[in-house]
C-alpha cells in the first residue's frame, strides 16, 4: 500500500500510447508498467541476468522447415484496461501501428521508437483468434528479443478516442499491471494498479505510483532530501554519501549497459594493431575509476558485464597492468620516445554516459601513463549521436580514431551484432569503426540461425569471447543503475535489466 513518488531523469513523461520514448527509462516506467509485450523480460530476480519470459504470448516457435516462420500462441482471457479483449487481431493491429504506414493506426512517433526494434519482421497474419504468425525476412533467432520491445495498446480504446493518438495519450489503455489515471505533460503521471492483471503475482501492492520528470540531478537529489519524492533514478555519485548519511537507501545492480570506446578500423588507424588495443585495455585503472564513481560502477572485463549469461570465458584478461600495457605498446612500435597520439570524441553529457567528463579525463591520464596520448574533441551529445551514425569515415568524425559511447546491450542485436556487423557499417548501421571480419560475420550468422535458446547462448558466448580476445573495444565500465530511495520503500528487487518490476514494492506508512 501507499504512494510511491518517483523522480525520473527524463525531462518529460514518456510517450503514453504504447511504444514509449525517453529511452530505457521510458520503457521502464511507461512501457512495461502500462503495457505488456508478447514476450516479457523476467524481472523477478536480482541475482541472475534476466531472461525472456512469456508475456502476452504463452509460447512461440519456428517452423523447422522454414525458419523464417514464427508462430505465437496468445494468452487467453487477457483484457485491455478499457475492457476490450486482447486477440490476434489486436496483435496484427499493433504490428501495423509502427510498421505499416498505410494503416489507419500508423503513428509516426511510435513508429520512430518501435520500427527499428523489429527489423527482421517481413510480414504477419492472424492464424486464429489466439494464434499469430510472423514471417521474418531471413532466419533470425533473435526475433524474440526484438519482439520484447513491442508494446500492445488497445485498438478499441483508439477507436473510442476518435482514432486520435493525441487523445489516446491522455487516456491510454494497455494490458499491463498499471493503469495510467492522470497525466500532466512534463510534470507528473499517476499510475494505479490494474487489479485484473493476468499475472496475479504481478498485481501491484502500491495504491499509486507517481512519476515526476526531474532531469536535473541536483534537483532530483534535493527533492528526495526534502521529502518531495521517495525514489530517484540515478543519483549523482557525489551525493551518494550525503544521501546515505541522511538515511536514504542506494540500490544498484548490474545490468546490460556498456560504457566504452569504439575504435576506428579504417586504414591508418593505430587501433588496427591488436597490441595497441590490448595495451590500452591494460592501461585503465578501473578500480580507481570505480572509486571516482563512488563505487557505482562495474569494472569491465569485456563488452558484456561479467555476470552476463553471454560473457563466456575469454582468454584475454582485461585488467589493470600498466607494465604489460607498455610491453604491448613497445611491440607495436611505440614507446616513451615515440608516443602514440590518438584523437577521441567525447561528450559532456548524454544518456547512460554516467560522468563522462571526469571519467574520460581519468582515462586520458591512465593512457598517458603508458604512452598513449589522447586528444579529446568534446562534442554535444546530439552531435555525437549523429557522428556515431555517420561513422568514423565521415568528415563529421573529424578524423577521430575513437569515440566514447554508452548504450544498452540488452539483447544479441543491440548487445553485439549492431556494432560489428559488415552490413551495418555506418552509415547503414551503427558499426562506427568500419570493422568487418569474416569470422565474426560467421558468428553473427550462427546467432541468427541457432533457434535453441541454450545453444544460442553458447554462440553468443563465443562471439563475446572473440570481442574480448581481440580487444575490439576499450572496455571500461558498466553502469549499475543506482537509484536512491527513502527507507519507507520496501520490497523492491532490482533486476539485472534496464526494466524493473514495481509490483512488489510497497510503502511503509
Amino acid at each position: 500500500a501507499g504512494t510511491l513518488r518517483v523522480g525520473m531523469t527524463a525531462s518529460d513523461i514518456p510517450l503514453t500510447t504504447g511504444q514509449t520514448d525517453q529511452g530505457g527509462e521510458g520503457m521502464r516506467f511507461m512501457g512495461y508498467t502500462v503495457y505488456d509485450s508478447l514476450i516479457n523480460w523476467d524481472l523477478s530476480s536480482a541475482d541472475k541476468p534476466s531472461t525472456l519470459t512469456p508475456g502476452l504470448a504463452t509460447e512461440w516457435s519456428t517452423d523447422p522447415e522454414d525458419r523464417t516462420k514464427w508462430t505465437f500462441k496468445l494468452r487467453e482471457g487477457v483484457k485491455f484496461h478499457d475492457g476490450s479483449d486482447f486477440t490476434a487481431d489486436a496483435v496484427v493491429w499493433n504490428l501495423d501501428k509502427p510498421l505499416n504506414d498505410q494503416s489507419e493506426q500508423y503513428d509516426t512517433r511510435q513508429a520512430a521508437q518501435g520500427a527499428s526494434r523489429i527489423p527482421s519482421i517481413a510480414s504477419y497474419k492472424v492464424v486464429d483468434p489466439l494464434t499469430v504468425e510472423i514471417v521474418t525476412k531471413a532466419p533470425d533467432a533473435t526475433l524474440p528479443y526484438q519482439i520484447a520491445w513491442i508494446m500492445f495498446s488497445s485498438p478499441a480504446n483508439w477507436e473510442a478516442n476518435g482514432k486520435d493518438w493525441e487523445k489516446v495519450a491522455a487516456n491510454p489503455s494497455g494490458t499491463g499491471p498499471w493503469k495510467l489515471t492522470s497525466f500532466v505533460p512534463r510534470e507528473r503521471a499517476e499510475l494505479v494498479p490494474n487489479t485484473d492483471y493476468w499475472d496475479e503475482n504481478r498485481i501491484p501492492k502500491l495504491d499509486k505510483m507517481v512519476l515526476i520528470p526531474l532531469p536535473e540531478p541536483n534537483a532530483r537529489s534535493s527533492a528526495l532530501l526534502s521529502g518531495q519524492v521517495d525514489w530517484i533514478e540515478a543519483p549523482a555519485p557525489d551525493l551518494v554519501p550525503a544521501l546515505e548519511g541522511n538515511g536514504f537507501e542506494i540500490v544498484s545492480n548490474a545490468y546490460p549497459h556498456n560504457w566504452t570506446y569504439h575504435f576506428s578500423r579504417l586504414e591508418g588507424s593505430p587501433w588496427n594493431d591488436i597490441n595497441v588495443r590490448k595495451a590500452a585495455n591494460l592501461a585503465i585503472d578501473r578500480a580507481g575509476l570505480k572509486q571516482l564513481l563512488g563505487g557505482l560502477m562495474i569494472e569491465a572485463k569485456g563488452f558484456m558485464p561479467p555476470s552476463s549469461q553471454w560473457f563466456g570465458n575469454p582468454e584475454f584478461d582485461v585488467k589493470y597492468d600498466p607494465d604489460a600495457a607498455k610491453e604491448y605498446l613497445a611491440k607495436a612500435g611505440y614507446g616513451p620516445d615515440k608516443p602514440l597520439t590518438v584523437k577521441a570524441l567525447i561528450s559532456p553529457s548524454g544518456s547512460g554516459q554516467m560522468l563522462p567528463l571526469p571519467m574520460n579525463e581519468f582515462i586520458q591520464q591512465n593512457l598517458a601513463e603508458v604512452g598513449i596520448n589522447v586528444d579529446f574533441e568534446v562534442v554535444e551529445w546530439n552531435t555525437m549521436i549523429n557522428i556515431w551514425r555517420a561513422g568514423a569515415a565521415d568528415p563529421s568524425a573529424q578524423g577521430a580514431q575513437s569515440i566514447n559511447f554508452s548504450y544498452f546491450i540488452q539483447d544479441p542485436f543491440t548487445g553485439l551484432i549492431r556494432h560489428l556487423s559488415c552490413d551495418l557499417i555506418a552509415p547503414n548501421g551503427t558499426n562506427w569503426g568500419h570493422y568487418c571480419d569474416p569470422e565474426m560475420e560467421d558468428l553473427f550468422k550462427q546467432i541468427r540461425n541457432t533457434f535453441d535458446p541454450a545453444e544460442q547462448d553458447k554462440v553468443l558466448q563465443k562471439t563475446h569471447e572473440k570481442y574480448v580476445n581481440d580487444a575490439l573495444f576499450l572496455f571500461v565500465a558498466h553502469d549499475v543503475a543506482p537509484r536512491a530511495m527513502s527507507p519507507k520503500v520496501k520490497g523492491f528487487v532490482q533486476a539485472q535489466n534496464w526494466f524493473q518490476d514495481f509490483s512488489t514494492i510497497s510503502i511503509e506508512e
Partner: protein
C-alpha cells in the same frame, strides 16, 4: 488619446511580424538536423528522410515560413518533435505557470523595489541610502541561478521548511492560491524577484533624486506643502517612468525565469524552453519563444497604453 492608442496598437503589428521572423529564423540558424534527438539512435537513413518529410523540414525556407506563420496565426504552432503534442497546448499550459511565477515575483519585487527606491531617493546620500543602494546593487549583481541553489540548500534541504521543486503537491494543473501551493512558489519567486527588485530600486532611487532636484519641488515647498505633500507630487512624477521600467522588467520575469525554472523544476516556459533546447525540439523552441516575446510585446503595449493615464504630457486627443 484615441489616436495615440490606435497608433500604439497598430505599431504592434510590424513588431510582432519582426518577432515572428526572428523566431522562425532561430530554428534555421540552428546547425544540424533538428530531428536528431527524437530519432532512435540507430535509425536508418530512410527512416530519417521519412521523418524529415513528415515534419516538413524538406521544403524551401520561405515556404516553411509562410506555412508556419499561417498556422501560427490560427493558433497552430506545430507539433513538438519530442512529445508530438501540439506546441500551442504545451506552451499555453507552461505560460500559465510562468505567469503565476512572474506574477508572484512581481508582487514581491516591484513593491519592495519601489519602496526601497523611494526610501533611498528621499534620504539620498545618507546611511539609509547607502544601505539600500548596497542592497540593490547586490540584488543586481547576484547570479540568481546560484542564489536559487543556495536557497534550496538552506530552506529545503537543511531546514526543510519549503519544497525544493515543482508547482504544488499535485503538479501545476490544480494550482490554487492556498498555503499548500504557495509554499512551492516562495523560493522560486523570491529568487526571481531579486534582480528586478534591484533594478527597480536603483531606477526609482535615481528618479526620486532627479525629481527632488527639479525646480518645481522648490516651488511646492514654497507654497507650504509638508514633506508628505511634496512626496505625493514625487510619486505622481515618478510613476510614468517607473511604470515603463516595470514593463521592461516584466520581460525579465517572463524570459529570465528559464534558469530559475530549471533550478526549481518549475513547469513553466523556461523549463519548457530548456527542455526544448536540449532535445533540440525546434518547433517547441520556436513556439515558446514566440509566445513569450508576444507576451512581452503585449505587456509593453499595456504599459504604453497606461502611460497617458499617468503622464498627461503624452499627447492626448
Amino acid at each position: 488619446m484615441l489616436a495615440y492608442t490606435l497608433q500604439r496598437l497598430l505599431y504592434v503589428i510590424p513588431v510582432a511580424f519582426g518577432v515572428s521572423v526572428i523566431c522562425f529564423m532561430l530554428v534555421h540558424i540552428a546547425p544540424g538536423d533538428p530531428l536528431t534527438a527524437v530519432m532512435p539512435i540507430d535509425a536508418t537513413a530512410e527512416q530519417q528522410a521519412a521523418m524529415r518529410a513528415e515534419y516538413g523540414f524538406d521544403r524551401p525556407l520561405p515556404v516553411q515560413f509562410a506555412i508556419w506563420l499561417t498556422n501560427a496565426l490560427q493558433g497552430d504552432l506545430g507539433a513538438s518533435i519530442a512529445t508530438g503534442r501540439p506546441v500551442a497546448s504545451e506552451v499555453s499550459r507552461a505560460v500559465g505557470n510562468t505567469l503565476i511565477l512572474a506574477f508572484t515575483a512581481s508582487l514581491i519585487g516591484f513593491p519592495l523595489g519601489i519602496f526601497f527606491g523611494f526610501v533611498a531617493g528621499i534620504f539620498k546620500d545618507t546611511l539609509i541610502d547607502r544601505a539600500v543602494t548596497a542592497f540593490a546593487i547586490t540584488g543586481v549583481s547576484v547570479p540568481n541561478y546560484w542564489l536559487g541553489i543556495v536557497l534550496v540548500v538552506i530552506f529545503s534541504v537543511t531546514l526543510g521548511w519549503l519544497p525544493s521543486m515543482g508547482a504544488g503537491p499535485g503538479g501545476s494543473t490544480n494550482w490554487a492560491w492556498d498555503y499548500e501551493h504557495l509554499r512551492f512558489i516562495i523560493l522560486p519567486a523570491v529568487t526571481l524577484a531579486v534582480v528586478p527588485m534591484g533594478i527597480v530600486t536603483r531606477t526609482v532611487r535615481a528618479l526620486v533624486g532627479d525629481i527632488l532636484s527639479q525646480d518645481f519641488i522648490g516651488a511646492l515647498k514654497a507654497k507650504g506643502l509638508s514633506r508628505f505633500g511634496v512626496l505625493r507630487h514625487v510619486v505622481r512624477n515618478v510613476t510614468p517612468t517607473t511604470l515603463s521600467v516595470v514593463g521592461l522588467q516584466l520581460g525579465y520575469l517572463l524570459g529570465g525565469s528559464i534558469l530559475i525554472e530549471t533550478v526549481f523544476n518549475w513547469p513553466g516556459t523556461g523549463f519548457l524552453l530548456s527542455n526544448a533546447i536540449f532535445q533540440r525540439d525546434l518547433p517547441l523552441l520556436q513556439g515558446t519563444i514566440l509566445v513569450l516575446a508576444l507576451f512581452f510585446v503585449f505587456a509593453n503595449l499595456i504599459v504604453d497604453l497606461l502611460q497617458p493615464l499617468v503622464d498627461p504630457r503624452i499627447k492626448r486627443g
